[in-house]
Amino acid sequence: MKNNKKLTANEIVSPLKDGIIKNNPVFRLVLGTCPTLAVTTSAINGLSMGLAVTFVLTCANIIVSMLRNFIPRKVRIPCYILIISTFSTVVDMVMKKFIPSLHDSLGLFIPLIVVNCVLLARAEGFASLNRVLPSAMDGIGIGLGFTLALTLIGIVREFFGAGAIFGYSIEALSRAELPMTIFILPAGGFMVFGLLIVAFNLVVDKANGYFAKKKAAKKTMPAENQINIEGEEVVL
């Protein structure tokens, strides 16, 4: 299984890029929905949860990738969970020590990073099949995609629900009777998440179609498979 071939630049960069847009864990793969909905009552909570997951995901991906030839296939899931829970405990302890206020507001969902399906899905679907560097890049990419999505949902919910952005309240909004508490409540979380999936897919599909058309014009070659959401993208 050993493969000493040199990695091309594309193999290293493309997981990073794919993680943010094409394989966005929240809007495209719809994984890790529990923290996505639960902590995004404010933008800053979403951002910090996203960064915590990015850290755990990158570290876990690196370790899983290093050990991919040693872990027996039958016990791989417990092994992955053990690796992931180690790093999530690290995050839990560091956060409790240095940023206790944030630790309190994220609460239960810090230890619950362990059961975030994004982590297990990437360990199983990417890190266990790929070499260390692409796996690390995949961790960072998917993590950033997760962070982006959580922050976006957080911004929308905080804007409508509390009339503020990143904790700074906006005078005009509070005058306009804007704080609509429903957006902070669970119901608003589901609604904003659903509508943002639609918006994200709409924008990405449009952009993909545009780029595909541009490329087709350049190469005079059909490029239908490039806008396929599920399938593999043609190497750029």
Partner: protein, 199 residues
């Protein structure tokens, strides 16, 4: 512990603080396994069972962890116990009820990453219910009734989604978005229970 306190605990876990619709735990199976009522029901029962057993075992284990002063291993130990418990349940079901195994087969391993199970285990040891305190029995009842709350929510959604199959939905809303919007309306309904203010 009085009967009223237990009743309050049960209603609280099932309706007022419904695991899915107000605590946001276990959303993945809620969205993923709610296409048909049968599978939703199977998943629900599997979750009730695993949550009940896991609550008791993790609560007891936590006492040991406190005694040994290694509380920082809590997350790791809990998730390992839950994962092996689910493996055990899978073996037992496969041996004694092949029909149920065929129906649940795929979903059982999925429960490992169902945050509701780890969530209830951690909640049992960190956030004792104010009116009843904490204890092994409380943990068990809390686990079972949280599981029932999960089952109720996933059953309602599955019922709606079965009807939805014949509906004419815009393409971009199909799949997850429409499901999330339905869940949003369900959550509004369940938000009404927060006015109960019992206990």
């Amino acid at each position: 512990m009085s009967a009223t306190a237990i009743l309050v605990l049960i209603i609280n876990a099932i309706l007022v603080n419904n695991f899915i619709l107000s605590r946001f735990l276990g959303i993945c199976p809620f969205l993923g396994v709610s296409k048909k009522i049968d599978t939703a029901l199977g998943m629900g029962f599997a979750v009730i069972f695993v949550m009940g057993v896991a609550s008791v075992i993790t609560y007891a284990l936590n006492l040991l962890l406190i005694k040994a002063n290694i509380l920082y291993l809590q997350t790791i130990i809990f998730i390992l116990v839950i994962a092996s418990l689910i493996q055990l349940v899978e073996i037992i079901i496969r041996r004694f009820s092949p029909g149920l195994y065929a129906a649940l087969g795929v979903y059982l391993p999925l429960i490992t990453t169902n945050c509701a199970v780890l969530g209830v285990a951690i909640m049992n040891v960190t956030l004792p219910v104010p009116s009843v305190g904490s204890g092994l029995l409380v943990a068990f009842i809390n686990g079972i009734s949280s599981g029932i709350g999960f089952t109720i929510a996933i059953l309602i959604l599955a019922g709606i989604r079965e009807k939805l199959q014949t509906a004419d939905i815009p393409k971009i809303f199909q799949g997850f978005p429409i499901t999330l919007l339905i869940a949003s309306i369900m959550a509004m309904g369940f938000a009404a229970f927060s006015g109960f203010n019992i206990g």
